[in-house]
Amino acid sequence: MNDAVDYYIEGDPVADTKAPAGPIDKKWSERQFTARLVNPSNRRKMTVIIVGTGLAGGAGAASLGEAGYNVLNFCYQDSPRRAHSIAAQGGINAAKNYRNDNDSVYRLFYDTVKGGDYRARETNVHRLAEVSANIIDQCVAQGVPFAREYGGLLDNRSFGGVQVQRTFYARGQTGQQLLIGAYQALERQVAAGTVKMHTRHEMLELIVADGRARGIVTRNMVNGKIETWYADAVVLATGGYGNLFFLSTNAMGCNVTANWRAHRKGAYFANPCYTQIHPTCIPVHGDTQSKLTLMSESLRNDGRIWVPKKAEDCDKDPRQIAEEDRDYYLERIYPAFGNLVPRDIASRQAKNMCDEGRGVGPAVTEVGQDGVERQVRRGVYLDFADAISRLGKDGVAARYGNLFDMYLQITGEDPYELPMRIYPAVHYTMGGLWVDYDLQSSIPGLYVAGEANFSDHGANRLGASALMQGLADGYFVLPNTVNDYLADAPFEKIDDSHPAAQEALASVKGRIDKLLSIKGTRTVDSYHKELGQIMWEYCGMERTAEGLKKAIGLIRDLKAEYWENVLVTGVNEDFNQSLERAGRVADFFELGELMCIDALHRRESCGGHFRAESQTEDGEALRHDDEFLYVAAWEFGSGGKPVLHKESLIYESIELKQRSYK
């Protein structure tokens, strides 16, 4: 039975994703041909707002600027180069087949759909695989210093969920190098005058006038000035919402506000419960921790994951535990993929080992869903002893040096001597604003790119695919689709006197005034932490109907308390970090509730969404394609209940199968 039925209303299905007809490998070229064009001399009469300067936003702003549009680009950081794409470590996939190992566009497409547990939209994923090779070419032309071999050609490595080597990388700093490439292209356009950059500006509202996205309201984070900006189209490239969990690998400023404000204005939010918990992060050390640090998945190329076979060995020095007393559990359970199984599987197995009492590291007190306190060790070993004896310490340092240094810096333990201790942490959100084939949301003129949209990763993202998607959307998709919409532009000029602008301005000012006037007794962070704990416990790696219903109640109570009792210091007309966070956490409450409702209504397990009620005898995720082969696109329900629109997933090029990595 559907436990969620009281929490939402079912609306009409999504009629059309606007992908062209025809064979899958011809759809993108067909769309590029049928999309209406804007004559270069008309482009300079049109303005496009882009919010975000990461891989999708930065690449999109640079490319649309090059095309000749007037671009207004915004970010909350002090420079576009800080966007959180910069923290991506391991690499970027591309179907180049430089390794001569049977790779192809079709295989990258297939691996991505399978990795996403058959919950991604075929047409978009195929396009992603098609443009992947162009991304590498583009980045090399910009001067991105990818790793090379002695012959001068590009090096590759493997990532989880695949059996070919198609990942390009720049040591453990691939995201940094790709972002700096996009940033430099962007600054070139700033110098050319096509892009106007507004740093330390946070988008707080979308302006939808006469049925079209026409502008945004921002707060200048230095002096509190509330401003409106108008354009012919708006692009949100504002990243994911993993920071809702408080502890995550996201940057401290990552938030859902831009997307949530758009959602409240009519943009559907798709698959919010699909969250990626990354298996290899440095474990939590204490309750004052502010964020979790990822250790790149690339480490699983050479590191072996294990826990002791016997619980009594868990507090021993790992070097003293004999080989036969170690359980290399991923190699044991999944012999074909071993340590390189997809992230959702590796994470859940780590949790299982620790739940069984075979975790390592310091024991921490946990209160279970049953309310009972217990001591649990939350960590597993990621061991490089074999790799060091095979490649030498220098060989390992050349591949992963910066990651090993980072680990030492954070934990005080030397991973060349002792195995790393790792545990899963919230890392990426596959869900996001719903978009069609053109990356247009359900609001005309509002486009969504990169992690902010839902489109390419289904219920689980494969490693090295986020960078690929961000750059694909920014460099190659948006510049070939936005023009179709802008062919009807420029639209009638509007200004602050338009009722839609008035309404948006009043809403922003009202919220800020309200947050500042509560003057309660609890800090914003204390609420954020509590919300994060609720989400981690009930909507994290394992979800149950009972737990999710409980979480919805807890979130509603906490949200109500927040609006009565939060303490925000200072005034609006100042640099005020406490106010910035207060607005973001307010939106996280609303999204958290929707995530739980989405998770509750999807009574199957798929990818990162694991419902304890739906598993195979071996404890693997069990999908129910008969009932849930759809994208859940949620419309904001003004009456308090969200409205579900189902987009059926149609698999024409790939046969639906139960995923197996054994």
Binding site: K96, D137, Q138, A251, S290
Partner: protein, 249 residues
């Protein structure tokens, strides 16, 4: 651990700043420096006082947003970013001075937050390769010797935090500027604009009011990404040869 902090408080760009003393108790050695500041801010907030403003974002040492001067040293006692500095680097009872980057081209916005947009303008003056989207040849069209690619990478790891400027007695941004010039000069794709780039970026560096380099080396000593000092000498060679090129600028 119990820590005494003396922090630069300055309400805004125009106001006079001053050092203010705070006590933080129960600090764990496993906390990061910024988590210790979070603790202080939570405490100040509950007491109804204004929390200390500081820039930070990724907290994993790569975005370059954080950075304060700790006991007179940019990013503090270990060669890393402020966010990666952990309290185990200090002893119980320590007195720690915390100040913003101090350089004329980096005006203070509030407390420990400074304006570093001068760095973006230096990049706009030529810190790129003109390769419009869609025009690129195959990635393997131009092989690059590993040693050159590695040198380019070492220079390209700069995170633009500004510690080099804060450490330099001359307030020079030559390490930052030269790192970009060398990154792009080591690659075949960077050659066509090589001379224009070095002239444009160095002119902008001067226009922003950064001082010149007198080979002191404080910059490289505090650089969290350990950009080598010799990028500056390599830039100087490029600059000299570019002055003899006729390229219209």
């Amino acid at each position: 651990m119990n820590i005494t902090l003396r922090i630069w408080r300055q309400p805004n760009a125009e106001a006079q700043g001053r050092m203010v003393t705070y006590q933080v108790a129960d600090v764990s050695p496993d906390m990061s420096f910024l988590e210790m500041l979070d603790m202080l801010n939570e405490d100040l907030t509950v007491k109804g006082e204004e929390p200390v403003a500081f820039d930070h974002d990724c907290r994993e040492g790569i975005c370059g947003m954080c950075g304060v001067v700790i006991n007179g040293v940019a990013h503090g006692p270990s060669v890393t970013t402020t966010c990666q500095l952990h309290m185990r680097s200090f002893s119980d009872g320590a007195v720690i001075d915390v100040e913003p980057w101090r350089a004329e081209p980096f005006p203070v916005i509030k407390d420990l937050v400074v304006d570093r947009t001068a760095f973006d303008r230096i990049i706009q003056a030529g810190g790129y390769i003109s390769a419009p989207t869609g025009t690129a040849p195959d990635a393997h069209a131009a092989p690059i010797a590993k040693k050159n690619a590695d040198r380019a990478f070492d220079a390209a790891t700069c995170i633009g935090c500004g510690a080099c400027v804060a450490a330099c007695p001359n307030g020079s941004a030559m390490l930052f500027t030269s790192a970009k010039i060398v990154h792009l000069a080591m690659l075949p794709q960077g050659q066509p604009e090589r001379h224009l780039r070095v002239k444009g970026m160095i002119a902008q560096h001067e226009a922003e009011g950064f001082g010149n380099c007198t080979n002191i080396g404080e910059c490289a000593a505090v650089c969290p990404k350990q950009i080598p000092l010799d990028v500056i000498s390599q830039m100087n060679r490029d600059l000299i040869s570019s002055l003899f090129k006729r390229d219209g600028k």
